[in-house]
Every structure is written in C-alpha cells, then in structure tokens.
Symmetry: C2
Subunit: 149 residues, 2 copies
DNA sequence: ACAAAAAAAGACAATTATATCTGTTTATAT
DNA sequence: ATATAAACAGATATAATTGTCTTTTTTTGT
C-alpha cells in the first residue's frame, strides 16, 4: 500500500521515538542496521523528513538523528504526506477522479469505511501515542524483532 | 493501492460484464475509449486476463472480448491475483515479513480488520454480483459516467 | 587550531511500472 | 477464396521508484 520509502520512514521515526532523545542521537548507519533497510536510501529519506521538521538532527561527531518533544507530537499522516503524498488514501480505489458517497465506484462502499478508520488513526494518534503502545504492548518495527528496552 | 494496470483490468471486466455477452463482443478500442485508458496497454492486460480465462475473446472481424457465463462467476480477487499479485493484501502494511495478531507491527490492529473485510468482499462476491449492483444502483466505472443502459 | 565524525547535497545506476509500436495470426463476412 | 478486422505476440520507449556513490559542510572532541 505504502511505498518502501514511506515504510522505511515511518519505521525510522518510530524507532527514534523509542530509542532516541535530544541527549541520545542515533546515526543513519545504526538505524539502517536495526531496521534492515538500505543505508544510503534511508539517509535520503531522513533528510526529507528533517526538512519538514519531522525528525531532528545534528551534524558532527556524536551527532545523529533524534525526535524532539515537538517531533513526537506529529502524526504518521505527516510522514506519509512528506514521503508518498496522500492520494492513495483520499482518492478513489479504482482510479476514478473523485471519491464520495454520491457517485461511488463499484467498490466504494466496501472500501470507504475502512479508509475513514485508517485516516482517523493515522491523523489523530501522535508518534508519541504509537511509541507508548509499542513500549507497552511490544510491537515489532524490525524484522529482527529487536528488544524494546 | 492497486496498480494502474489492475484498476484498468477490473474496470474492463466490469464493463464487459455489463455491456457484453457471447453474442455481443467488444473490441479493445471501444473499451479503452469508454474507460479512458491507454489502448495498447489495455490490450496487453486483456491478453493476460484471457490466458487465465478471466475474459473470453474471439479473433477476426466482429470479434472482440466478452465475458462467458463462467467468466462471470470469477471474483475480482482472481483479477488482482492475475495482474498485481496479492501480496499487498496479505503481507504486513509496514513491510515486515509476516502479518498476524501474534507479532503485530504498530499499525497492524488499525489495518487488519479492514484487510479482512476487503479480502472477503473481493473473494466472495462474483463479477456477476458486482454487475448486478452496478446495474441496480448505478455505480460509476468510468470517468465519463457513461450510461448503464 | 585540527582531525574526525556525522549529516547534507547531488550525481549516478538499476529496476520496475507504464505505455507504445510493429508485425503476425486467426476468424469472419463478402 | 480473399480481404479485412480483430486478437495476439514481441520489441521498444518513457517515467517513476529504488538504491548507490562521491563530495561538501558542519560540528564536536582533542
Ligand atoms: S468512489 Fe471509488 S473508492 Fe470511493
Ligand atoms: S503485522 Fe503489520 S500489518 Fe499485520
């Protein structure tokens, strides 16, 4: 559903939400290893995210990426907007121009409620919320199922 | 969500379900015009569908594509399998290897119910079912909102 | 001040998805 | 029988996505 790029981005942010803060920055190399994602590609993505203030970074030795307090208040929707754009979720599933209850396509009513639900969750829950749940209930964000300390 | 290819394919099949039968075949040109989709690309797709017996065709003058009785008993799931493959629907939304309630990713529980519902609709409802609904309730399958006679 | 470490920036390469073009085969209508 | 209309098949073209490589800039620790 999402592009690889977007999946990497979201997982990185959640990873940072759990493992970093302004006194503990993490480099691309480490992040890429933990998430088992291509390092230079991830670097690009983090730079895009950084431009939109979805992640924070400092250069130089002992620098790296982290999430500031304000970064934690963003939604995953913001990330999707930043990397993929949100057409997939707002436009018609069958590729017709508009999507609405008035002029529905054949699959509209099987897909629409769902879209609503996803949109809601992705827009209303903050990264902080997701991080809490991950810590509390132990969700996976990497293939290696690393510990959530 | 679906590729363009798959969207064109599904819409073509639904179009044929409504407008064709074994005594009334329709050529690619006509279909492409009605659906406003790229003609040669659609031709390729119809050939793929034809190989898997999802559409029927005859060559030569006054030939074209149509849906046989048995074609009408297929599901849209069959079409998705044929064109895109079904990974998008069965695999993890975040790109992790497996998807299940035991080792869920952070978005699993917002996405999973939806997946179920869609899967169900796409697998259990036949093309004939969809065609009925389109005729009865007037769903759009083209941008031009063509009449459903 | 200086060296090293890390992000940032930009050019490049490979793969896949999308789309087109050309020619061949087959069935139909005359 | 023959011309024609259509599907069928295969090669090619374009664009987007995914991924890599190299260089530059900034920051920190010594
Ligand atoms: S009109 Fe197609 S999904 Fe809403
Ligand atoms: S585990 Fe990710 S969607 Fe199910």
């Amino acid at each position: 559903m999402l592009s690889n790029a977007c999946k990497y981005a979201i997982r990185s942010i959640l990873y940072l939400a759990i493992h970093s803060d302004d006194s503990k920055k993490i480099g691309v190399k480490k992040i890429a290893e933990e998430l088992e994602s291509p390092q230079p590609f991830l670097a690009k993505l983090l730079q895009q995210l950084s431009k939109k203030n979805l992640v924070s970074s400092v250069k130089g030795p002992s620098g790296g990426f982290y999430l500031s307090k304000s970064n934690l208040e963003n939604s995953v929707w913001n990330t999707i907007e930043c990397i993929d754009g949100t057409d997939k979720f707002t436009k018609c599933f069958m590729g017709l121009s508009s999507c609405g209850d008035e002029n529905p396509c054949p699959v509209h009513f099987t897909v629409a409620p769902f879209k609503q639900k996803i949109l809601h969750d992705f827009k209303d829950r903050t990264i902080r919320d997701f991080a809490e749940e991950i810590k509390l209930k132990g969700r996976r964000i990497s293939l290696k199922d690393f510990e959530v300390t």
